[in-house]
Assembly symmetry: C2
């Protein structure tokens, strides 16, 4: 059964990019201690979804496309450059409910990962389509920046499914975000 998941890292105070829209605060922690968690998560992902700025950030970063041959939806009303090398990317805009039906169909029984940014995840959550928030909280306070999940109204009480603690001081929490 396909779940729609927002797997993301944030600061203690709930920002996913700093006030200069940088991820340096996150990159300083490296990925080594999070690798097993991420690989375990990614193994069950059938489709990735992201906003235009997240996509542009990935393009600018210049690393190889990290999602292998999984179909990726980039939500955008703008014309964006494709990624070299045959990544399976669909640029789309429109009603998130209709798109969500496409994502679930394309996921083939695996999960839909909403990569970000926060506004895209909030759009999915506001439509009642987000099943899980998988949050890694890094031990740093940003003070300002891009919000984690700027939903239009306060949510109901979430169910805390699991927690974990990483050696470097990060913590993980998985929340069920609907019904």
């Amino acid at each position: 059964m396909t779940k729609t998941q927002y797997y993301v890292a944030a600061s203690v105070d709930g920002f996913i990019a700093d006030r200069e829209n940088s991820l340096d605060w996150l990159m300083q922690f490296g990925f080594e201690e999070f690798g097993a968690d991420y690989e375990g998560f990614l193994a069950d992902v059938g489709v990735v979804v992201m906003g235009s700025r997240t996509y542009e950030w990935l393009l600018a970063e210049g690393s190889p496309w990290a999602y292998a041959d999984r179909p990726a939806w980039v939500l955008t009303s703008r014309e964006l450059p494709p990624i070299e090398g045959g990544a399976n990317i669909r640029f789309a805009s429109g009603d998130v409910r209709e798109l969500h039906t496409e994502w679930v169909a394309a996921a083939g029984g695996k999960n839909v990962w909403v990569v970000g940014g926060g506004e895209v995840a909030a759009q999915v959550a506001d439509a009642g389509l987000l099943d899980e928030l998988l949050l890694t909280t890094m031990p740093v306070v940003l003070g300002a920046g891009a919000p984690l999940l700027p939903v239009a109204a306060t949510t109901g009480v979430l169910e805390l499914v699991s927690t974990q603690r990483f050696p470097g001081g990060a913590t993980g929490a998985v929340y069920r975000t609907r019904g």
Copy 2:
């Protein structure tokens, strides 16, 4: 040895009051499961510090003054009404470094609790005077509201001292916030 502590509850996305400046989202959880943690914390508190809006919120709420005979500093540049019944309250404004010296002296070896709001705690943190953030994260997303700790610049990496998990889905984390 006196520690200056910010003990506070926030939403998953780092807000301490909602977009209507209400605490209803917090109050819905009740206090019962947090009582032992709070009492243990409060037992080591010698001085409480808060901003004018936190003070006014407590006044409006109308409950008995919760800090017993501990000296309380209310940071304000405005004239505020005193609390009935002989609470030990000092209205003050000015340089947080000088005030901090007073707080530590008055704490008599116990700790200084910065109750809030976020701007007051950030002022203390920005001055390098905050020792610990004791954060309880409630399982709810607000989307917008009063920020947890709006520091002027990204902090260094904090040390995660301890974590806990409450039955209703809240989590606790204690961070060391300097040296």
